[in-house]
């Protein structure tokens, strides 16, 4: 059992997972941002690995990726930054990224290094289930990494059950079929989350995409174990010179 399973054992509701981009806003702000998030009381961190062509991301997260790459962020640099980070960061951390940079780094080497940090799980939106089952899933399992699949309102019930059975840690419910950072119709989202709740899935469910403030966070938490905030936090970091202060204010506004 790792930190994710531990977290969900202790806390079933209102889990706040916040996304940040490695190497953003400055190359060396990765760990300080994570520390600020933890100090502000977030339950989990989704750490994005920047990529030149992030298909599932909207303009704000794309721009943070572009900035992080311009700052010099790479997977190798990220693992250097993370070495020893568990002396300060105890919340679960999942890495989010796209397949291509990981394939270049070497998939197995990547999993081994991630497990060494240790990282708790992976979200790779462009890794489909067929390739997961036949090639990459067994490698992640060997290194004890959770793998989190996404489901959307367009995902059939049968497929939701399948992806739930393949996922470990939690299931990522995308609030509507869209890239990150789009505003959502929260009523439609409610019905979909209600459906997920009624399905009594194996994994806890965290809702992502379109969660941006206290109201949307609370609404998402009514039908799920918690929610993930990305775009709104990246926006908050955009022009800040005070990472700790900005993060504290942002998280306090959501949790108050």
């Amino acid at each position: 059992m790792n930190r994710i399973q531990e977290l969900f054992k202790q806390k079933k509701n209102n889990i706040l997972n916040v996304y940040c981009t490695a190497g953003y806003p400055q190359l060396n702000s990765t760990v300080p941002v994570m520390k600020a998030l933890q100090d502000s009381g977030v339950d989990m961190i989704e750490l994005g690995m920047p990529y030149s062509d992030p298909l599932a991301d909207g303009p704000v997260i794309q721009a943070s990726s572009t900035q992080a790459l311009a700052n010099g962020m790479t997977i190798a640099t990220l693992f250097e930054q993370l070495r020893g980070f568990r002396q300060q960061i105890y919340v679960p951390v999942v890495l989010m990224g796209y397949m291509n940079p990981i394939l270049q780094y070497g998939f197995e080497r990547f999993c081994q290094d991630a497990a060494d940090m240790p990282i708790d799980g992976l979200i790779l939106p462009d890794l489909p289930e067929y390739e997961f089952e036949t090639e990459y899933g067994p490698i992640m399992q060997r290194y004890g990494l959770n793998f989190i699949f996404l489901v959307t309102p367009e995902t059939s019930e049968e497929r939701i059950r399948r992806l739930d059975s393949l996922s470990t840690g939690f299931l990522y419910a995308v609030s509507s079929s869209s890239t990150t950072g789009k505003d959502k119709d929260m009523n439609a989202v409610n019905n979909y989350l209600q459906k997920l709740q009624d399905m009594k899935l194996k994994n806890p469910v965290l809702v992502g995409f379109g969660i941006k403030d206290k109201a949307t966070f609370q609404q998402a938490c009514e039908h799920a174990n918690g929610a993930i905030i990305g775009t709104a936090f990246i926006k908050a970091l955009e022009n800040t010179s005070d990472i700790a202060g900005t993060t504290k204010k942002f998280i306090t506004d959501i949790k108050s």
Binding site: Y51, S52, D53, L55, A56, G58, P59, Q62, T66, L69, T74, I75, A76, Y98, M99, N100, P101, I102, L103, Q104, Y105, P125, D126, L127, P128, Y130, E131, F149, L150, V151, T152, E154, T155, R159, L163, V174, S177, S178, T179, K182
Partner: protein, 414 residues
């Protein structure tokens, strides 16, 4: 079924090691809908009837297979040009756009999106949307909008909305990203007409089938003109690889036919300003499939360069990655300068002004002819060289109208 041929991928969309559908879950429904239905729809007799009739009456097919006498003399062999440049809208791109609009109609889609580089696929898509009265949105890199102004105007005149892609490097790769993001945000009513044999399965196979009309015609046209269906060589340029896939398709399982793909090497393969994907790329995932991708050591996709916007793409379709990997295809490259020379040569020798993309295929003649034997950056096996008796088919994928600004600049420079 797990067997793969050069022609068709296995059920998971793999050509050898390349292909698949590396898509986020948000695209699953759309891609799965397409995958489960495309073959039934395409091979439905009513579909075939409408498609064939429009290819004939609207596109203007069959496109001629023209014996280029003076070019043949110049290169000491027998050269035939497959005249896709004479298709309506000026390139092979319409074969695919037409097939896909008929498919979209049968899927009940009301909104069409497309990406375009040079603008030829954008124009082809805008054209078929006008034909069917369907809304059309074309994503085009901001940089390409500047350098391909006449095609932007054509798309607008045809009623399409052209949206500049301002992310990343602002060219074809980014226009493709934006089109995919649009599809993610519009999961129900929209069909994405991809312009080449790239993207997640089933796109590479579907687009190859729509373009395969090119080699289907070459076979019977050659038979009529020479008595034999099989050429010794088929030469085509490769951006994503759709005209090449179409020209190779019915020869892929004929080992006696030498398939030659010509990529754009810009200022030279190792100049840092090139789009020669097989020479510079490594296996990776781009736009939903595993293929060869030009990228940094860290796996970030790099911006390619070619004088021809249609070849300015950092990947190639998985069908071609497999032809390269297996050795079935010979991959050459032509520089910007080689392509310009080939364009001016064809204009003077045959009275045909080719598209810059197609000029890369013509530049391949210089390297394969024992008369000119121009040095190639990729090694050419002796048996691939032409003889006097070779029957060489070059896919002339498009006409040069859209490239006149570039040609005029080249003439001023002389």
């Amino acid at each position: 079924m797990t067997t793969t041929t050069y022609q068709q991928p296995n059920t998971h969309g793999y050509y050898g090691k390349f292909g698949g559908a590396f898509i986020p879950e948000m695209l699953h429904r759309n891609v799965e809908e397409l995958r489960s239905k495309y073959l039934d729809i395409i091979y439905d007799p009513a579909f075939q009837k409408e498609y064939k009739a429009l290819l004939h009456d609207y596109v203007g097919r069959p496109s001629p297979l023209y014996y280029a006498k003076r070019l043949s003399e110049q290169y000491g062999t027998q050269i035939y040009l497959k005249r896709e440049d004479l298709c309506h809208t000026g390139s092979h791109k319409l074969n695919n756009a037409l097939g896909q609009i008929l498919l979209a109609e049968r899927l009940g889609k009301k909104r069409i999106i497309a990406e375009t580089g040079a603008g030829q696929h954008g124009v082809a898509t805008a054209t078929v949307c006008a034909l069917k009265g369907v809304e059309c949105i074309v994503y085009m890199g901001e940089k390409d909008i500047e350098r391909q102004a006449p095609n932007v105007a054509r798309m607008k005149m045809l009623g399409a909305t052209v949206i500049p892609a301002v992310s990343g490097s602002k060219t074809l790769k980014d226009a493709t990203n934006e089109a995919i993001r649009d599809w993610i945000n519009n999961p129900v009513d929209t069909h994405y007409i991809i312009g080449s044999v790239v993207g997640p399965h089933p796109y590479p196979d579907m687009v190859a089938r729509f373009q395969s009309i090119i080699s289907e015609e070459i076979r019977w046209q050659l038979k009529e003109q020479t008595g034999s269906e099989l050429p010794s060589h088929v030469i085509a340029c490769v951006g994503g690889g759709s005209n090449a896939a179409g020209a190779f398709y019915h020869f892929l399982e004929e080992p006696g036919v030498q398939l030659v793909a010509v990529e754009a090497s810009g200022h030279g393969v190792h100049s840092g300003m090139s789009a020669a994907t097989t020479q510079l790329g490594k296996p990776g995932v781009l736009h939903g499939s595993k293929s060869l991708v030009m990228q940094t050591e860290d796996g970030q996709v790099v911006e390619p360069h070619s004088i021809s916007a249609g070849l300015d793409y950092p990947g190639i379709g998985p069908l071609h990655a497999n032809l390269y990997d297996s050795g079935r295809g010979l991959f050459l490259s032509a520089t910007d300068e080689d392509a310009l020379q080939a364009a001016f040569n064809l204009a003077k020798k045959e009275g045909i002004i080719p598209a810059l993309e197609s000029s890369h295929a013509l530049a391949g003649l210089e390297m394969l002819s024992p008369v000119t034997a121009k040095k190639s950056e990729a090694p050419i096996p002796a048996k691939a060289m032409f003889t006097k008796e070779s029957t060489v088919v070059v896919c002339l994928s498009g006409r040069g109208d859209k490239d006149m600004a570039t040609y005029m600049k080249a003439m001023e420079g002389k």
